[in-house]
Amino acid sequence: MFKTVYNWIDERLDITPMWRDVADHEVPEHVNPAHHFSAFVYCFGGLTFFITVIQILSGMFLTMYYVPDIINAYYSVEYLQTKVAFGQIVRGMHHWGASLVIVMMFLHTLRVFFTGSYKAPREMNWVVGMLIFFIMLGLGFTGYLLPWDNKAYFATKVGMEIADTVPYIGPYVKELLQGGEIVGAQTLTRFFAIHVFFLPAALLAMLGAHFIMIRRQGISGPL
C-alpha cells in the first residue's frame, strides 16, 4: 500500500533523488563514536538540532496557553505551570531546553573550531553557523521577558540600558525593540513576535543553509 502510493507520487514528481540527496550518505569512521569513542564530539551538531526541534515543538504547545499582554502574560504562565495537565513538563522542556541548546551549540562551535573544520572550503558554513549563534542568543534574550515576572522585567530593562549605550544607533535600537519609551505593553508584544515568528523563521532558513552546505561538502576529513 505504502509502496504503491510512493511509486505513484515518484512517477509524477521523481522524489527519490530528493531524499537520497538528504539522507543517503556514508558516515566515515573518524566521526562515528561506535569506532572511536572520542568521535562523540561530532555528535554535538546533531544534538543541537535535536534540542532545537524540542524547542520548536514545546514552544508551539506553550503558545496554546500563553497570552502576550502585560495583564495576562504572567497569569497564563502560572496557569500553565500549575493547573494544566503536563503544563509543567512542557514549560520545563522549553525552559531547560533553552539552556541546553546553548550548551550544545557552544560545544559544537568548539568542536568545529578545534578540529579546524571551518577552514577552506567550509568558510561560509562557519559564518552561517555564527549567524545561527547570534539568532540563538536573540531567542534567549527575547524569550526571557515573556513570563513577565520581575526577573524577566528587570533583566530586559538592563538589556535595554545596555543597548542604549551603543553610539548613534543604540537609542534607535532600544526604541525599536521597546516600542516606546519604557519597557511595557509594546515591548512584550514585540518580543513575543520576535521570539515566535521573526527569529525562528531566520533560524530555519539558516539551518537549511547549514545542512545543505554540510551535504554538499561532506564532513571534514580526519585530522
Binding site: E26, Y75, R91, W96, K119, G140, A155
Partner: protein, 290 residues
C-alpha cells in the same frame, strides 16, 4: 525513476514540462577518500543514533520533571529592591560591564569595542586563520586566543554568579521563584489558593440570589461595603471566604471591628439567626471554585 524515456515509464511529460533532466547527478563527497570503516547513514547509523537520542530524551525529561521551571512574582515596575540578573549565558557580558574600564564614560569600550572585536574575529575566523593546518596544537595563535577567551568567559560568568549570590545573602533576599514556590506549597497544604491574586480581577459573587444579600441591605452593611460588595468605605467583601471562615466572620461582628455595626443592625431589627446566615453566606464567597 529516471527521466530517460524508457518504454516502461507510465507518465510521459507533454507540452512545456520544464523539469529538466539532471545531466550530472549532485556531487556527493566521495568517502572512499577516507580510510577505514564507513557506514551507511540510512539505515545503519540512524538506527544507533535514534537509540542514543531516546536515552538523551529520557534524561532530559527526568530533569524537567524533577526541577520545575522557575517563575517569580508578576512584574512590578515600581519594585526598587529587585536585583536584575540575566540568563546565565549573558552573565559574562553583564559582569564585564561592571568593571570601571568598561562602564561609565568607557561604556562604549565594554558594550561595542571589546565584544565587537571578539565576536567579529570569531565570525571571520576562517578568513583570519587561512593556513591549511587543522590540528589545534599546530595552530598556536588561533588555539591560544580561543583558550584565553574561554577562560575569561568562564571566569567572568563565575564571578558574576558569586557576586549575585553574595548580594542575595547580604540583603537577606530569597530569590522570588523559590519564595513563590515555598508559599504556594504552604498555601496548598492549608487548602488556600496557590496562585498570585490578579489585580483588578472581578471576583464573582457566589450564590448572588441568596436572601443574605437582602439581609445585608437591611442590616446596613451595603452602605459601606458597596451594593455589589465591591467595597466603599469598608473593604470589598468579595472572595472573603478565601481568608475567613464563618466563625471568623462572626467573631469580626461580635467582638471585632464590626461590633458597632453589628449592634446597630440588631437595633434595626435584624435577628441573631439572620446575622449567622449572613456570615455563612459571606464565608462561601471564594475567589475560585476549586
Amino acid at each position: 525513476m529516471s527521466h530517460g524515456h524508457s518504454p516502461k515509464e507510465k507518465v510521459i511529460y507533454v507540452g512545456d514540462s520544464r523539469v529538466k533532466k539532471r545531466v550530472n547527478p549532485l556531487l556527493q563527497p566521495d568517502y572512499s577518500a577516507f580510510p577505514g570503516k564507513s557506514e551507511a547513514f540510512i539505515p545503519n547509523f540512524l538506527l544507533k543514533e535514534w537509540m542514543v537520542g531516546c536515552v538523551a530524551l529520557v534524561a532530559f525529561l527526568v530533569l524537567t520533571i524533577s526541577e520545575p521551571a522557575p517563575l517569580g512574582y508578576p512584574a512590578d515596575p515600581n519594585n526598587t529592591g529587585f536585583i536584575p540578573i540575566p540568563d546565565w549565558y549573558f552573565l559574562f557580558l553583564y559582569q564585564f560591564l561592571k568593571y570601571p574600564y568598561a562602564s561609565g564614560s568607557y561604556v562604549v569600550f565594554g558594550t561595542v569595542l571589546i565584544p565587537g572585536i571578539a565576536f567579529g574575529a570569531l565570525m571571520l575566523a576562517p578568513f583570519l586563520d587561512t593556513g591549511k593546518e587543522r590540528r589545534f596544537y599546530r595552530r598556536p595563535i588561533a588555539s591560544s586566543m580561543m583558550i584565553v577567551s574561554l577562560i575569561a568567559v568562564v571566569f567572568l560568568t563565575k564571578t558574576a554568579w558569586n557576586e549575585y549570590q553574595h548580594e542575595l545573602k547580604e540583603l537577606n533576599i530569597i530569590p522570588e521563584h523559590i519564595e513563590r514556590e515555598e508559599k504556594a506549597r504552604e498555601a496548598a497544604m492549608e487548602g488556600k489558593p496557590t496562585g498570585q491574586p490578579k489585580p483588578n480581577q472581578e471576583i464573582a459573587l457566589v450564590d448572588k440570589d441568596d436572601p443574605a444579600m437582602e439581609l445585608m441591605k437591611k442590616a446596613g452593611c451595603l452602605s459601606c461595603h458597596g451594593t455589589d460588595l465591591k467595597g466603599g468605605v469598608g473593604p470589598s467583601l468579595r472572595g472573603l471566604g478565601d481568608s475567613l471562615s464563618q466563625d471568623d466572620i462572626l467573631k469580626v461582628l461580635h467582638e471585632g471591628p464590626m461590633k458597632a455595626q453589628y449592634e446597630q443592625a440588631l437595633a434595626a431589627g435584624v435577628t441573631e439567626d439572620e446575622i449567622t446566615s449572613i456570615a455563612a453566606w459571606l464565608a462561601k464567597q471564594k475567589s475560585s471554585t476549586e
